[in-house]
């Protein structure tokens, strides 16, 4: 008797080869979710600079107004657009609503996410 090794089984959800749209959506939600958790704690950590008053905070703000940070912001926006919109789909289908349309819903919502991303990326770089 042999089972797949535990490391293989732990990461198997991310192996989307030969899998269908539903797995893609699930893997995307998990990856963006974990990325957003990481961001949350980085963001909360960064906010601690406010304790140091304007001497600590204002220079940081200057650093943030840069193409590198704007790019990171756009990646962040992509993360919560994908996660949020797909999350709506997971909530709906998760109680059995629009189950038959789950694939179309995913594609449609990701199109909305892409459009939203383009608009917001434009706004970020313009600011």
């Amino acid at each position: 008797m042999r089972t797949d090794s535990k490391p293989r089984r732990v990461w198997q959800w991310g192996d989307v080869r030969q899998r269908k749209v539903g797995t893609w959506a699930y893997a995307l939600n998990r990856i963006t979710g974990l990325g957003l958790v990481l961001y949350l704690y980085i963001h909360l950590g960064v906010l601690s600079m406010l304790v140091g008053g304007p001497a600590a905070w204002d220079p940081f703000i200057k650093v943030v107004r840069s193409p590198l940070f704007y790019t990171l912001d756009v990646i962040l926006i992509a993360g919560w657009l994908i996660h949020g919109l797909n999350g709506l789909r997971v909530t709906l289908t998760g109680i059995g609503l629009a189950l038959g349309a789950q694939k179309a819903l995913f594609v449609g919502l990701m199109v909305v996410a892409a459009i939203g991303l383009i608009i917001m990326a434009f706004m970020v770089f313009r600011s």
Partner: protein, 123 residues
């Protein structure tokens, strides 16, 4: 007549609470995140606040309530998500209990930190 199953169910929180709260906080975040983004990057001059602007922003009690509510909701949603990912590793029943307790701890500390930070800035 109560069975052993009824008693067991009464003692232990239902497995559904995690999913249900994940969904509720998720829906809440659709609104709260949108508000947070608008308040932080559209209302503020140039889309980002320097220290003086942050203090002025937090003078409004409605804003403080909004931001703290956002923090509680996002922390709950994030940690419920982490719990789901960890549970998918196939942990023992006791390990699952410990993970849940640990994440509650992290959540309380995170929200506590947010309250403290707000107080430090606005006092």
């Amino acid at each position: 007549m109560e069975t052993q199953m009824d008693n067991a169910a009464a003692r232990v929180p239902a497995a559904s609470w995690a999913w249900i709260w994940q969904a509720i906080t998720g829906l809440g975040l659709v609104v709260l995140l949108a508000l947070h983004m608008v308040a932080q990057h559209f209302v503020a001059e140039g889309g980002i606040r320097d220290y003086a602007d942050v203090v002025a922003y937090l003078r409004n009690p409605l804003i403080v309530v909004l931001e703290l509510l956002f923090l509680i909701t996002v922390t709950a949603h994030a940690l419920l998500g982490v719990r789901t990912v960890l549970f998918d590793l196939g942990l023992s029943d006791s390990a699952e209990k410990r993970v849940t307790q640990a994440l509650w701890g992290v959540g309380v500390l995170t929200v506590g930190y947010g309250f403290w930070l707000t107080w430090v800035i606005t006092r």
